[in-house]
Amino acid sequence: MFSSQTVNWFNPSGFIGNNPDWRTKVIIERPSAEMCLACRGAKLLCGKSRCPILTKAESFSRHAEMLYSSDVISGSSPPGLFVGRFGYPKVFIGPMVPAFHGDTEFLDTPEMWKGKTIEEIVDYRYSLVRGCFKTNIHDAVNGSRLIDTLQEISMANKPADSDLFLEKKPVQRITFSENSQPFGPSAPLKQFKPSGNISVDSRMEKAYYDRDLKASDAIFGLYRSGVLFSKIEKAFSVGVFGEKKKRKLVPTRWSITAVDSNLSLRLIDEIKDYDEIDEFRVFHGENLDNVYVGILTPEKWKYEWIEAWHSGTAWNKFGTKPEMIGDYEGYYGRKTYAKPGGCYYTTRLAITEYLARERKQSGAIMLREIHPGYILPVGVWNVRESIRSLLMNKYRAFDTLDEALNHACTFFSIPKSNWVANSELLRQAKEQMKITQYFSH
């Protein structure tokens, strides 16, 4: 019997050459949770051409009703669009349209999904048909008929009635990703025709016509003027912002993290000017069988994000024990991509939003325990919105980190010692002396 627990897949000690079954049995059928958490369907570390966990997730929803039997879809685009990442810099882009008219905004606006079940979210996404057209990311500079239309609908402030002409009937499939919300059926695009005038958000339009405005300034300005994250991210992905010659298409799953990261960096700069909080604050919230706890500490800005995936959850399907992954940054930030990926940056945005609102500075240790009810990865929006709502809850204040941590751990089934062992900031707080402790000796 081969077990993923006993074999280090990075270094199988000559075992792989002797036993051809190793790859099949250990890596493909039972990938280790450690490997899956580091990959999450993005790097295909197990060697399969498609992530087995995501494929399984797709088959879960493949039984949904056959909604589309035609190659012409007529409906109101939320507005929605998608930029793929495979083949970069030549990627598939296209609009998303459901087969019905009306107020469809909620279908592509994760900010409206608070309190919805995974099944409801899958249904929303399944109803959106995606047309695919291959184009170069640099075509965003000069534009084309399709790119111009996509840029225009990405700035729309209400659903746009459209007709989607496809080369063939859509493939009845839904695809999942750790970073982006699920995407529904798709087919090669023949033509996309919005009917009537598209009403665009004047704030977005202003940024679009400003060919000297940097993309990061544009997105921060729009965010500050109250434009929803999902709208900014959509327009960003289709090359609406930036200096004229630098505009490009950005794959949806990258653009989400790019916007999360960029906005939070701006907010970090801002909160560094504020006074530190004078107590330990513990926040608690739950959503989609995820338990979230935030511990804010009275010190200068530093941040850590740790996730614990119980066995049976999306990225720890085959494990027998919870698997933890996390990363942190000090006052001056980080230079490498954080190990947990998009969730790290999206949580950083939610926590800096809170601190900027409070006009305070603090350290932040954000913890997430994922229970088996979280069967599918639905995208980082889930974490962003959950942390945003967590930080709207009432917090409990404590005088010491120990008290705060003890209270925080009452919400988790994983013991305190495991969180401490996996948290650099908690270990630092416990073990790292401060030079100020030696001033009065």
């Binding site: 010190e299 800005w301 073990e431 401060k434 030079i435 000796h441």
Partner: protein
């Protein structure tokens, strides 16, 4: 080498400080940049000093740069100036290796930096919000001098497996070690080797420190100094000394780092 000019001119209201090459300023600004974004320098007739901690209060830099360490130094009245370290560093980096650097302050809100004889920059000063930082009161049981490239190599060796380094001194040896999820690393240097010109152990000592801080400061301050004087005691902060320019001139950067103590 010309003796340093230390003059006091009552007509002057500010200060002038000139170094023959940019290497000292490079080391000073790079060292400060590892800890803080804004820096307030104190200028008196004695020279230039600076002291600050990083935002986590784990490390402290203490600069002492006596007037004798400059090619030319004039100061009529004690003064302070605060700069954004990144902006100041950018100006220093514009100097070529043979350029002298002269900083002076005549106007109240800006600092003039001359690189060589032809290039001049004016840097707007910012408001200081720095409070006075005392020095930790420490006595050291172990002292050693290590050549800079050797220490750099030790840090890089240990950082392969760990983010912390344990330093243990015995009568004739120094052991650097670290352990992490992937394994262990140990480097032993002894008195007989070339890497340790000096080793003085009053009491055997063992303490653990963050490699991240040590790597940054060694890279920054080590550029101006071939040797690092190292002092520490068991489970106590360490002090590293980097000389600025010629050792006889007395300029130095002290770097204090609090230990990591595991129960």
């Amino acid at each position: 080498m010309m003796p340093a000019e230390t003059t006091k001119t009552s007509a002057m209201t500010g200060f002038v400080a000139r170094t023959q090459t940019p290497s000292e300023w490079r080391a000073v600004t790079a060292s400060i940049l590892t800890l803080v974004e804004e820096a307030t320098f104190d200028v008196t007739s004695e020279g230039i000093t600076f002291r600050a901690m990083d935002p986590s209060h784990v490390a402290l830099v203490d600069l002492f740069w006596p007037s004798s360490g400059f090619e030319k130094f004039e100061c009529t009245k004690a003064d302070k100036f605060t700069v954004r370290v990144e902006d100041f560093t950018k100006l220093v980096r514009r100097a070529e290796s043979k350029d002298s650097i002269e900083i002076s302050r005549q106007a109240t809100d800006s600092l003039v930096m001359k690189l060589g004889s032809r290039r001049e920059f004016e840097l707007h000063l910012i408001e200081s919000n720095q409070s006075n930082t005392p020095l930790p009161k420490l006595s050291f049981n172990s002292k050693f001098t290590i050549i800079e490239p050797a220490f750099d190599r030790v840090l890089n060796d240990i950082s392969v497996v760990s983010s912390h380094i344990t330093i243990e001194t015995k009568k004739d040896t120094i052991t650097f070690s670290g352990k992490g999820d992937t394994g262990k690393a140990t480097v032993t240097l002894d008195r007989a080797g070339q890497d340790i010109p000096e080793l003085d152990v009053k009491e055997e000592s063992k303490a653990t420190y963050s490699i991240e801080y040590l790597l940054k400061i060694t890279k920054a301050a080590g550029s101006a100094s071939d040797m690092i004087n190292f002092e520490y005691s068991s489970k106590m902060p360490l002090r590293m000394e980097f000389k600025l320019g010629e050792a006889s001139k007395g300029g130095r950067i002290h770097f204090y780092l609090a230990p990591r103590v595991q129960e």
